[in-house]
Assembly symmetry: C2
């Protein structure tokens, strides 16, 4: 499965290939040998070798000492964290997220949309032994998560329809909304209520409350969510969680306006 080298603009072939190598390695569980990478990219080994040596010299790739297989390199960690540090939204959101997590003892996420999916930008993990939910930097579908629905709900109907047409509505559990019209209705509700509820739509037994964060222009750019097990989130406690999650999102919206805006 080689990435197509669809050259829209004047791309530099070797750079394009080198970056694709990184993606191929990232998609593997535990690194790949040179031969495996060459096979997947449908390129001669020597070509891949030249590219990957250059990546290694810059620490974008490292070789396992045992065998010589290639893994992602430490420099990606450094650049990724440096980028994350530049986002004002994280600082703006941190205090409210901390408070929420501590108050309810649950896991709090901060996310944004990235290419039609939810991307987790930050996370305050609950102390509980099992943290079922996803990690920073992970992606998940928009139509079945608290953050995703909160983000999606504030788009125009046309945009939502387009999103559905492009990405589809994959069922992750039996509760996932898979019909377009049903999702439209649900999102209208989300918009009116001011919060989104994911009730086992992404994973059975997992409940999740999401609320939107507006940037200085009044556009929804981010959302937070609080996730926990259904057995812990119901009735009065759930009601209070909903209220507090919305409050927190509003606080973050405010904090974001105050600081200079350095968008993601």
């Amino acid at each position: 499965m080689a990435k197509s080298n669809s050259n829209k603009t004047g791309k530099i072939q070797s750079v394009d290939r080198a970056l694709t190598i990184l993606e191929v390695i990232a998609d593997s569980d535990d690194g790949l040998t040179l031969a495996q990478i060459a096979e997947r990219m449908e390129l001669p080994k020597s070509t891949v070798h030249g590219l990957i040596s250059t990546l290694r010299d810059h620490k974008y790739v490292k070789q396992a000492e045992e065998d010589g297989r290639y893994l992602l390199g430490i420099h990606l960690f450094e650049l990724g964290t440096r980028l994350a540090r530049s986002w004002d939204i994280r600082d703006a959101a941190k205090p409210a997220m901390r408070w929420l997590s501590k108050e309810f003892g649950e896991t709090v996420h901060l996310g944004c949309e990235e290419n039609g999916e939810v991307l987790y930008l930050d996370k305050i993990a609950a102390d509980s032994l099992v943290t079922i939910v996803s990690d920073i930097g992970a992606r998940l579908p928009m139509h079945c998560s608290g953050i995703g629905k909160a983000l999606l709900a504030h788009k125009s109907d046309a945009e939502i329809r387009r999103h559905i047409a492009n990405l589809g509505l994959a069922p992750l559990t039996g509760r996932t909304i898979t019909k377009a019209d049903e999702l439209m209705k649900e999102l209208e509700k989300v918009r009116e209520q001011g919060f989104a509820l994911d009730d086992g739509e992404i994973m059975e037994g997992l409940r999740c409350v999401g609320a939107p964060i507006f940037d200085a222009d009044g556009i929804v750019r981010y959302a937070i969510s609080v996730s926990g097990q259904v057995k812990d989130l119901y009735g009065k406690r759930l009601e209070r969680l909903i209220i507090e999650t919305q409050k927190a999102a509003k606080e973050i919206t405010y904090a974001l306006k105050k600081g200079r805006v350095q968008s993601k």
Copy 2:
């Protein structure tokens, strides 16, 4: 200040240049224009443009909407976090770090050596409003930090001497150890004690206790540290912190042995 293109191995020029562009952008505070990048790399703008467009297509770089200046792209965040997730050490260390942070209400770091410097791999921040200390992914010198001294102390004398010769002993505060012999003595003490104390050597008023973590082969690969203000860390409380930090490091060493070892 262009990076020299010292071609040791058969490097691919365009890839080498593209990666250097990322470094140049990362070194800037708030992104750079094409012209600025071209100037720093001593390359024609059109050359840089081709390379950087390719980086942009892969989301390793993004362009600010306002002006067209170039910033690091979201994909670096995704790759960096994916890499971080693959490190067993983080999972192994997390519980003990959490406990330490909660017990003392201070900030706990996990770090390793990377190219003669301490690289922070993880952090549990104290709830306190001001978090003075560094962030995940940041680097700092080895000779004046708790983690750094713990790591350095368990190398051979020859290696330590070489480290000093290569990197020097820059004084960050008036308390920083800047004489080689003095540092050798200090590290011997660290080795004997089993912990390292940074007493305002990196920043006035900041105290920090570090302890080494051994991998399955008995080599020191990581270290943790607890940092706080001098006014909070002294006397009985400091004594107890030292004991608990060492305990935590031992626990992590043990946890690391149990799991399969996926080194950084």
